[in-house]
């Protein structure tokens, strides 16, 4: 039904465009400036719950901004959300991006996955449309030299780095065995982790690879057992790390276990079962209760959409940062407010948001969780707030 509504809304917008004749950029009607903001995430498929959560976070921000009655360039502004489904598919992601460009949106919030965000970012860059991803963590996204690419979540260089140091300083490990699933996400994270762990004086006894479809890790784990590391780090998703955790314990390996945000889920809890107890994982950002305005956001969000899944607070901030830049530039024209966006210094729900020269969040934090009593318990937040 929401799909139907949004496509209906889209066709209405298209109709509006035609009836206004040649309108460039934001449409003007009855003294009110309509500013379109595109949002893209997977609204169908296995990640649909995360995609819907992103859309809700974005919508909440837009509704609140409209309620405030913002004036930009002496004109009253009404923001309009254009939400699209990219199905977490890189190809669909670029089609959505082209659609946004054709619709002349003023900015884009998205996409959810690194795999869709990276190819779409080229299209936005060529069209000069600012893009803020609330959840893509692959470092490459902001390192392609695009002036239009920003993100409000710490990237995996940060995550891998902090975890590498944490293993040395807080867990006190002297030796670590690393495994990854050879995907862009998993291997990227594992390599960042390895670099940081080595720099912190931890010996990497081995770096093994599996894939994101495997379920038998015993040969690799037996190898790791022979090297007797203090901790095992896995870069990959919960579908592998859960069963892996079981096999680690059934082989009698006593080493601790750590994985990144791909394993920091409730899915991991059920897949690993009792063997998971004591495992570490990490998520970029603060736990919602600890976010500067987290409690308040949670209340407003829950009242409208129910439980927060994951990234909706980041979507909310992404919209607000974008609108803040428009206000300071006193324009909704992408070419005018883009320089202001880069200079952002915004007090958001998730953090104080400002960007480095690449468009990455300055000084983002990572929270480490430990599995205790069958639940992920926030252990410590790493990295300084700016």
């Amino acid at each position: 039904m929401p799909r139907l509504l949004s496509s209906l809304a889209l066709s209405l917008i298209a109709l509006g465009l035609i009836s206004c004749g040649q309108s460039s950029g934001p449409t003007t009607g009855s003294g009110e400036l309509v500013v379109r903001i595109g949002a893209s995430s997977p609204l169908t498929g296995p990640q649909a719950h995360l995609g819907k959560d992103n859309e809700n976070g974005t919508r909440l921000a837009i509704d609140e901004a409209n309620a405030q009655g913002i004036t930009i360039g002496g004109q009253k502004v009404r923001f309009e959300l254009v939400s699209e489904d990219d199905a977490a598919d890189p190809k669909t992601g670029t089609i959505v991006a082209q659609k946004f460009v054709d619709l002349k949106v003023s900015g884009v919030i998205g996409h959810l996955n690194s795999g869709t965000t990276i190819p779409a970012s080229r299209i936005y860059s060529e069209a000069g449309i600012p893009q803020i991803s609330p959840s893509a963590t692959n470092p490459k996204y902001t390192h392609q030299g695009f002036k239009t690419a920003f993100r409000v979540i710490p990237n995996d260089t940060k995550q891998g780095g902090e975890l590498g140091r944490y293993v040395a300083s807080k867990i006190g490990a002297k030796t670590v065995a690393i495994m990854d699933d050879t995907t862009q996400y998993g291997q990227g994270l594992a390599n960042q982790f390895e670099e940081a762990a080595k720099a912190a004086g931890v010996t990497v006894v081995t770096h093994e690879h599996t894939d994101d479809k495997a379920s038998d890790f015993q040969a690799i784990l037996t190898n790791i057992k022979a090297k007797n590391p203090d901790i095992i780090f896995y870069g990959g998703m919960d579908a592998q790390s859960g069963p892996m955790m079981k096999q680690i314990r059934s082989l009698g390996i006593k080493a601790k276990f750590m994985t990144g945000d791909g394993g920091c889920s409730t899915e991991f809890l059920s897949l690993a079962g009792a063997a998971g107890e004591g495992a570490y994982c990490s998520l970029p950002g603060l736990p919602i209760e600890k976010m500067p305005k987290g409690e308040d956001f949670k209340k407003r969000f829950n009242a409208k959409y129910g439980e927060i899944q994951d990234y909706s607070p980041y979507c909310y901030d992404a919209v607000m940062v974008m609108i803040d830049a428009m206000k300071r530039a006193n324009s909704t024209d992408p070419s005018k407010y883009l320089p202001e966006l880069a200079k952002s210094n915004y007090d958001g729900v998730t953090a104080k948001i400002s960007f480095d020269e690449n468009g990455d969040l300055k000084g983002g934090v990572i929270t480490v969780y430990q599995l205790r009593g069958g639940k992920w318990v926030a252990e410590e937040t790493l990295g300084a707030q700016p």
Partner: protein, 307 residues
Amino acid sequence: MDIFLQQVINGLVQGSLYALVALGYTMVYGIIELVNFAHGEVVMVGALVGLSVIERMAARGETGWGVIALGILVAIPSCMALGLGIERIAYRPLRKAPRLAPLISAIGVSIALQQLAALIWGRNYLHYPEVLANPQFHLGGAVITQVQLVILATTGILMAVMWVVVQKTALGRAMRASAQNPAVAGLMGVNVDRIIASTFLMGSGLAAVAGVLVGTYYGVGNHTMGFMLGLKAFTAAVLGGIGSLGGAMLGGLLLGVIENLGAGYLGALTNGTIGSNYSDVFAFLMLIAVLIFRPSGLMGERGSEKV
């Protein structure tokens, strides 16, 4: 040394699971010379049916091997019905068609079953409830778990049973006769259609057992789990000599051990240039090597008695 022993134990357990599945391939191939590519999906269905049963029981607080056994007992008839249905719908009408037709039909069935399972059980990774304490035993520095022992024992027993059925019973004699020459077997009063159906029944029953054991062993089930397992088991059957019961057993165990030793020692032997991720490549290289020197597999002999 204990590491070597551990890799061999892991390999034997994994290999005996391959062998159970390989039996299904080899028996069907032996009789109608069809590579039943949907067989891996039958294993998957067995695992997921078993999972549903075990989940129900676990929710009622039941634990122990009885729960797993019940899962297997429900999975076997489900898979048998499925196997029979596949044969009736997808293969029997094509028996006189060119060789490629049933092969394509098998691939179609495989895809259809995967999608059907995705509809019934969803696309998420499902976890097998932990109903076993799974104690560990130490064996000269290596560890072997109860589940691993049960897998080895179950496979051994089932293999022996299959051998007796094929070699010592009237049904087995009819199967061997149909494999050698279906037309002549038919003239001698053997109901070939019925024999083929019973081959599918037996293969699917074994697949059900393998499915529940795989789920119990690794603790996960998913609608895609049958594909790779089926491919490996097929490889094992070819390695051992497709059409030969003993060959399926030997091929399965060998493939399991080779894979584990490959993953265990490739990295060390090549100083890290070729890592554990190449263990599959290694296993298939071995297969190619064997087939160059013995084109009909380790135990298969050209023109010999099949099944």
